[in-house]
Amino acid sequence: MIEKTVAELYSALNSGEISSVELTQAYLDRINRYNETLNAFITVSDESALSKAKQADALRAKGDSSPLLGIPLAHKDIFCTEGVKTTCGSKILHNFISPYDATVVTRFNDAGAVMLGKTNMDEFAMGSSNETSYFGPVRNPWDTERVPGGSSGGSAAAVAADLCAMATGTDTGGSIRQPAAFCGVTGFKPSYGRISRWGMIAFASSLDQAGPICKSAEDAALMLNAMAGLDTKDSTSADVDVEDYTAGLDNSLEGLRIGLPRQHFAEGLSADVEQAVRDALRVYEKLGAELVDIDLPNNHLSVSAYYVVAPAEASANLSRFDGVRYGYRCEDPVDLEDMYKRTRSEGFGEEVKRRIMVGTYALSAGFYDAYYRKAQKIRRLIKNDFDAAFKDVDIIIGPTSPHTAFKLGAKTDPVAMYLEDIYTIAVNLAGLPGMSVPVGLADGLPVGMHMVASDFAEAKLLNVAHQFQKNTDWHRQRATAFTEGQ
């Protein structure tokens, strides 16, 4: 039962085959059994989960059949959850009990979903391997010597090992899509502004976006139905109508034009990843789609521009952590300056401090034009590339990551780690919807296919992904070490 998709669990709950309490207990048992190995959860909220499940069963008995009622989920520990520890993977928030719920959390609560706990992540979502977490790295269920990707690695590992039915993530440069690819699950980053950022601890405010990490495109559509929509508490939340994202899943792909960026099938891409993606493209050809080579000529500058924009915004956002109102404060400060400096230096990890330094430098007097303004101009060029491409094609497809999951400790050079997101970062700079779906295994490790659509074309993206999953079973594959007890 625990391996089923949300859509399948919905039927099982409605038919009485299983209750939400039983289902919740089954996931809690698995968390209890496997979390020591995987380290996917920072906090497990068993009691509140079971009481929420009981409520869901009672509502269902009264005839409520909301799509997510009684479905167990996990939230990335970047979302504020009232009365529950919310750490963002950092020592500086290790004791922070949020006094309010993020809008995303409220929406899942209102939909009747059952929160099992909070998932591990790279500190402040800064990382591509989950190794920067203050709470230790998450391990990849497919090979526990390997990383799950990052920064939403705990959510991706939890879904992959069936420790929950679905999970939330956030994506600033690839943090939903890359871990989804490494763990063999479906990860969806909506258009910027589609989902409220209120109560989601800020990393880079013009790039951050929440989204689903789950077992199928259909599940992503069901989750997006609950998550998407205008929120007046987030001034950048988009006032764009929300569709029923499940409505178009079965649309035909006859005549669909798929763009393949030459820059994403070039040097640096491992042969086995390319093969798996090319095999997936053949499935699309059989479904009536047409493949077209396209160019994204400024893609190679996306990582450079991102490492100005994201650290600059982060340095401003993270200035709020000062040891005054909440979170960690250093011992025995001699004066205010000492308190700020030691609180921040002891509370933040190395990667977070590095990015604060880079961002502070880029915004400092005399360097603004050379860095921040220049990066914004590159950002425009990158967006123009996508706009031009979408005049000719409906969807863009390539690999999510240049290779499969790497070993823990294998990448110690920050720049090498930054280049992990070479195919995903441009999408955040342009604010577009993107997703990763599993398309094969290479040496026993999952390969992800990256798909991008134009602004607010979430429904099209989900339709294209769903049609692939209807005709293949890569999204059904599981890491054998964690299939016991199914």
Partner: protein, 95 residues
């Protein structure tokens, strides 16, 4: 461009980060590498390009100027390391 020791100290001060003497060289080296990555941007002529600050072309929404949030001071101050009489306490600022 090399990011030297004095640069590290200056930026650390701006960011209110304490930098121990033993870490300065390592931090300078790492940031020099990152700046080399960033400097790839300089290879493109962007003279006539309009900067893009944000993916959405939108203006600030306005709402009526009425209070919408309740006062939760006592509850919120429980999260603070040190408070007194409804105030947040910090080390002495004025002698």
């Amino acid at each position: 461009m090399a990011f030297d020791k004095s640069e590290v100290e200056k930026v650390a001060q701006l960011a209110r980060l304490h930098m121990s003497e033993s870490d300065v060289d390592e931090v300078a080296a790492r940031i020099t590498d990152i700046l080399a990555l960033i400097d790839q941007m300089q290879s493109v002529d962007t003279e006539s390009v309009e900067p893009l600050a944000h993916p959405l072309d939108m203006t600030q929404r306005l709402r009526p100027d009425v209070a919408t949030e309740p006062n939760r001071r006592d509850e919120l101050q429980q999260l603070a390391p040190e408070t007194e009489d409804g105030l947040f306490l910090v080390p002495k600022v004025i002698e």
